[in-house]
Symmetry: C2
Subunit: 332 residues, 2 copies
């Protein structure tokens, strides 16, 4: 039986394009002991995947040219030679971009789609939700009354960061790239203020106006000039969880900008890069708390769904032009 | 009775020069209750003082034009209207740059010059020693076998950082600006390797060669291109205590350089600015431990002494051209 796969055809130099990806038919290998056959129903596309297309040292090995890309997905088991997995089980895990795949069962986790829709396990109860949870609480350590700024505020992580910061009693200021996102975040997600970085005539001043007491925590999803403007308003003893630098994922030169160390020094600021995997021993705590806030109505959720397996590359590239509000999901 | 004072004559724009300072005679005010008369014997000059010459928001208020500069000093009490202080007491505190001064006693601490020479209380048992101790141990959290790089390695803080890191069982690599300093740090202070940043043809490669297992902790006293070269070699989960940025203390433009956030992000690195005052509740712990290491011979000390009250400005400026090895002290 054949499955369709999306292959990394060549490593992109800058922004990926049509030559980066290739759709291919592939014969399914034989099922061996410890393996299952899965049919993905939902794929997650995430900014970090761009980094995996480069042949560079990072926290996760690069995708290989000629091999399928892969990422977080929800799938249905259709055949199993693994203990504890049976047809019709719904699982989540890191899966190849394929319409059907034979994979080891030990990387999969069964999920309960009666508790929450399947796609939630790729979003608010998955990697983006946990990223927001640990980055904000463990690095940011928000205190009631503090001001939290989050960039990429309408993205999968940012929208959760803002809401958790509100639960912690903070003033929450988002930065986003369209008036629709500004309206959505303030009207539906409880942000105290949102700055449109594309239209603000002076971003540093716009952030200063939105943060009359300065910035105590800056949850950074984007980097670049947006971050320069926030850091110009940073308070003494502020914390900066570094979660993403989407501004540079498609650049080829080493980015240059104002040096931040003098500011971090004179204001005793902490900045910390992290990935969600740094917290893997606490994932169950995080999922439990996020699920509780969702069921109590304290944490709202939104996602952008693109339909069709072959739309995966397009959906991924859409992240870099801000096509999504909340989590971007591809439904097969 | 008259005392001589060194006044901030004008705020420097870039490197301070003759027009920055002015020597002035001043009539001593009357001694009031709670005050003492002190005659300083040793003044500390430190890089952070340059920042106080600017009219800028920082962790410490700026010096005022027309007023004397001030800083850490050891002094003898010559008269007292304060409980617990008597003539011939030796004290340390933040004192004006004056040959004699009337100051409130509540900012002073009596010291015992039989336990350690007076100048030690401005160096290894004072602000620079405590800065090294807390920055390295509390932010750096060194583990045996890790590699610690310290810039400004022959300075008052760096020379202590390197030795404490050795006590913790780390490999210690210094960065300094002369072959004499390189020789001194390796031969007398136990550094495993020292790189001369002024003569290394490729600093990034020189640091890579000196750190075959990468850099786990970078104690940054200098900033700029030296730091760029270290950060290019930084390990996953590394820690960067930001202690000084002497490269920029005499610049007027906002310094520009490669953005570091992408590197800190992909390697889950922590960077934290700090000042010793962040740890003031733990000063007695720090002094006790430093004094114990000194008396056990585990921590060696060196200082550069300049003689003459009027040499204070010259000694301060000497810090920016690396005139000192270890703590720079002006003996009155």
């Amino acid at each position: 039986m054949n499955s369709q796969q999306i292959i990394l055809a060549s490593r992109p130099n800058g922004m990926p394009d049509a030559s980066t990806f290739r759709l291919e038919d592939k014969q399914r290998p034989e099922l061996k002991a410890g393996e299952v056959v899965v049919k993905p129903t939902h794929f997650s596309v995430d900014p970090y995947m761009r980094g995996r297309m480069n042949d560079a040292k990072s926290y996760i090995p690069p995708f290989q040219v000629g091999e399928p890309l892969s990422g977080g997905a929800v799938a249905e088991v259709t055949d199993s030679k693994a203990d504890g997995f049976a047809p019709r089980d719904v699982v989540t895990g890191n899966l190849p971009w394929a319409t059907e795949a034979v994979v080891p069962a030990n990387g999969l986790k069964k999920i309960d789609t009666k508790l929450a829709p399947a796609s939630y396990y790729l979003g608010i109860l998955g990697m983006p939700g946990l990223t927001a949870y640990f980055g904000l609480l463990d690095i940011g350590k928000p205190q009631p009354g503090e001001t939290v700024v989050v960039s990429g505020a309408a993205g999968a992580v940012g929208i959760v960061v803002g809401q958790i910061a509100k639960i912690q009693g903070c003033r929450v200021v988002g930065i986003a790239g369209s008036d629709d996102k500004v309206a959505m975040l303030t009207e539906q997600f409880g942000f105290d203020a949102v700055v449109n970085y594309k239209t603000a005539p002076d971003l540093t001043k716009a952030i200063a106006d939105a943060c009359p007491d300065g910035v105590d925590i800056y949850f950074d999803n984007v980097g670049g000039e947006v971050s320069d403007a926030v850091i110009a308003n940073i308070n003494f003893h502020a914390r900066i969880p570094l979660c993403g630098q989407i501004a540079f994922y498609n650049t080829t030169d080493v980015p240059v900008g104002p040096r931040i160390q003098p500011m971090l020094l004179t204001r005793s600021v902490l900045m910390k890069g992290f990935i969600v995997g740094d917290y893997k021993e606490r994932f169950s705590e995080g999922v439990r708390q996020l699920a509780a806030w969702v069921s109590e109505g304290k944490l709202r959720y939104t996602e952008t769904t693109v339909k069709g397996f072959d739309k995966l590359p397009e959906a991924l590239l859409g992240l870099f032009s801000g096509q999504n509000t909340g989590k971007m999901i591809v439904e097969v």
